[in-house]
Amino acid sequence: MASIESKDIRKIIVACDAGMGSSVMLASQVRKQLKGTQIQVEHTPVNSIPDDADVILCHVGLADRARKSAPGRVLVPFQVFIGDPAVTKLISTIKSGGTVDA
C-alpha cells in the first residue's frame, strides 16, 4: 500500500467524473481546512489526475478509475461529500504530522 509522510505532501487532488462539480466543492472545503499549510488543493477530472499529485481524494464509486489513472499514488476514497470520516481523518493526520496511507 502506498503511503506518504504528511510533511512531504505538496499537492492534494480532489477528483470527480467531470472535474467541475462535486470535486470543486470538496476541494474548496479541504482548502479552507488546510489554510496556513503549504499544501496545494486542486480539482481535476478522474481521468486526468496530474503526475505531481501526492494524495488523491475521490468517491469510492470512482476509486477504480482513479487507481487506473494514477497508479501507485496515495488514494483516499470517501463516501459522502459533507463531513466524511475519511476526509476528516486525512486532515487531522496532516495537521498532527502522521503518515497518510491508502
Binding site: C16, D17, A18, M20, G21, S22, M25, P45, V46, N47, H59, V60, G61, L62, A63, D64, R65, K68, P77, F78, Q79, V80, F81, I82, G83, D84, P85, A86, K89, S92, T93, S96, G98, T99, D101
Partner: protein
C-alpha cells in the same frame, strides 16, 4: 476502505470501464456548457415564441446550434486525444459532418473529433524522429492540414449521413416512447445508472444529443429533463432528514441546498449507495416526474446544467413553468414518500444508531494507531 457509514462500495472492472467511456463522452460536452447556456438563454428569450421575440437576435439561434456547438464538441474531443493539434483537426473534421447532415451534429462531432485527433497522433508518432532539422514546422502544419481536410471529406461523405440515420432511428424510438406514454419507464434505467456516477454520461452523452435534435424541430425537448430533474434527489434527502439514521440527519440540509439550488446531484448518490433499496424511491420519483412532464407536454429549450432548479427555470420555454414545476414537485413528493416508507418512517433509526456507533469505533482504530 470501510468506514463509519457503510460497508465498502467498490466498483467492478466493468463498471469502471463504462464510467470511463461515458466520462469521455461527457468530457467533450461539459467544458462547453457555458456555450450551451448562452444558446439556451438566447433561444428562450428571442425566438418567435420566446419571452422577448426579436428577429435579428433570433438569427443567432440556428448558426450556434448547427455550427458553433458541434465544432466546440469536436474541438474538445480532439484536445482530449492529442492536445492543441488534435483540437484543431477535430474542429476541421467536425465541419465535415455538419455539412454532411442537416440536423445538429452532436453525435457526429463526438465521433469524428477524437477520431481525427487519434489519426493525427499516430501520424505524428510516425514522423517524429524522421523529420530533417528545420522542416518540423512545415511537416507539422501540413500533416495537420491534410488529416483535417481528409477527415472533413470523410465526415461529409460517410460519417455525417450514417450519424443522421442513427439520430433519426433513435429519435423515432423516442417519439414512439413518448406517444405511447412509456417514457417514465426510462427512469428504471436512468436512476440506478445515475448513482453509479454515470449521470454525466447519460445526460450529456446520450440524452442531450438526442434532445437537441428534437428541440431543433419542435423548440423544446423532454429528454433534457429525464436525468436532470432535481426532484427525486431532493425527496430522498428530505426523507433522510426526517427518518434517516440519526448521525446522518444534520448533514442533509446542506446537501439539499447543494443539490437543489447548486445542481450538484452527486451529493445525494452516497445516500442511495449506503442503503441501496432506496434506489426504488428515486426510480419512483423520477418516473412520476417524467409522467407529469409528459402529460403536461413539458420540455426545455436547452439542457439544464447543472441540474439545479435555477438552471431548469432558465431554460423553460414561455408558458411551460407550470408543468415543469409540477413535475419537479411530484417527483420530490413521490421520492420522499417511498424513501420514508423504506426507511420505516424512522423506526429503524434507533437500531441503526447502535450499529453506527459500533462501526464508528472500528473506523477510529487506525487513527489512534497512526497518531
Amino acid at each position: 476502505m470501510a468506514n463509519g457509514y457503510t460497508p465498502t462500495v467498490q466498483g467492478t472492472g466493468t463498471k469502471a470501464t463504462i464510467q470511463r467511456i461515458g466520462g469521455h463522452l461527457a468530457g467533450m460536452i461539459m467544458p462547453n456548457i457555458g456555450a450551451f447556456i448562452a444558446w439556451g438563454l438566447i433561444t428562450a428569450l428571442f425566438i418567435p415564441t420566446g419571452w422577448l421575440p426579436n428577429e435579428s437576435f433570433a438569427a443567432l439561434v440556428d448558426p450556434i446550434i448547427k455550427f458553433l456547438l458541434p465544432i466546440l464538441i469536436g474541438y474538445t474531443g480532439g484536445r482530449m486525444v492529442h492536445e492543441q493539434r488534435g483540437a484543431v483537426v477535430g474542429a476541421v473534421a467536425t465541419m465535415g459532418v455538419i455539412v454532411g447532415a442537416d440536423t445538429p451534429m452532436f453525435l457526429g462531432a463526438m465521433i469524428i473529433g477524437p477520431l481525427a485527433a487519434y489519426l493525427l497522433k499516430r501520424i505524428d508518432a510516425l514522423t517524429e524522429d524522421r523529420i530533417k532539422p528545420g522542416f518540423e514546422m512545415l511537416v507539422d502544419n501540413f500533416t495537420a492540414g491534410i488529416v483535417g481536410a481528409a477527415m472533413a471529406l470523410l465526415g461529409a461523405w460517410g460519417i455525417g449521413p450514417i450519424v443522421r440515420t442513427i439520430t433519426e432511428v433513435a429519435g423515432n424510438g423516442v417519439d414512439w416512447l413518448v406517444s405511447n406514454q412509456l417514457l417514465p419507464v426510462a427512469s428504471v434505467l436512468i436512476e440506478p445508472a445515475k448513482v453509479l456516477f454515470l449521470n454525466n454520461a447519460i445526460n450529456h452523452g446520450v440524452l442531450g444529443p438526442l434532445g437537441v435534435a428534437q428541440a431543433a424541430e419542435t423548440g423544446k425537448s423532454i429528454l433534457y429533463m429525464l436525468e436532470s430533474n432535481p426532484g427525486p434527489g431532493l425527496g430522498l434527502l428530505l426523507a433522510y432528514l426526517f427518518f434517516g439514521p440519526r448521525p446522518l440527519r444534520p448533514s442533509t440540509p446542506a446537501a439539499m441546498i447543494i443539490h437543489f439550488f447548486g445542481g450538484i446531484h452527486e451529493i445525494y448518490f452516497p445516500y442511495v449507495l449506503m442503503k441501496p433499496r432506496l434506489i426504488l424511491a428515486v426510480i419512483a420519483g423520477g418516473a412520476a416526474g417524467v409522467f407529469v412532464f409528459l402529460i403536461t407536454g413539458s420540455g426545455l429549450v436547452a439542457t439544464p446544467s447543472p441540474g439545479s432548479i435555477f438552471a431548469f427555470l432558465a431554460v423553460t420555454p414561455r408558458g411551460g413553468w407550470l408543468g415543469v414545476i409540477a413535475g419537479i414537485l411530484v417527483a420530490t413528493g413521490v421520492s420522499f414518500l417511498v424513501a420514508a416508507a423504506l426507511l420505516g418512517f424512522g423506526r429503524g433509526a434507533r437500531q441503526e444508531a447502535q450499529d453506527e456507533t459500533a462501526a464508528e469505533t472500528d473506523a477510529q482504530q487506525p487513527v489512534t494507531k497512526e497518531a
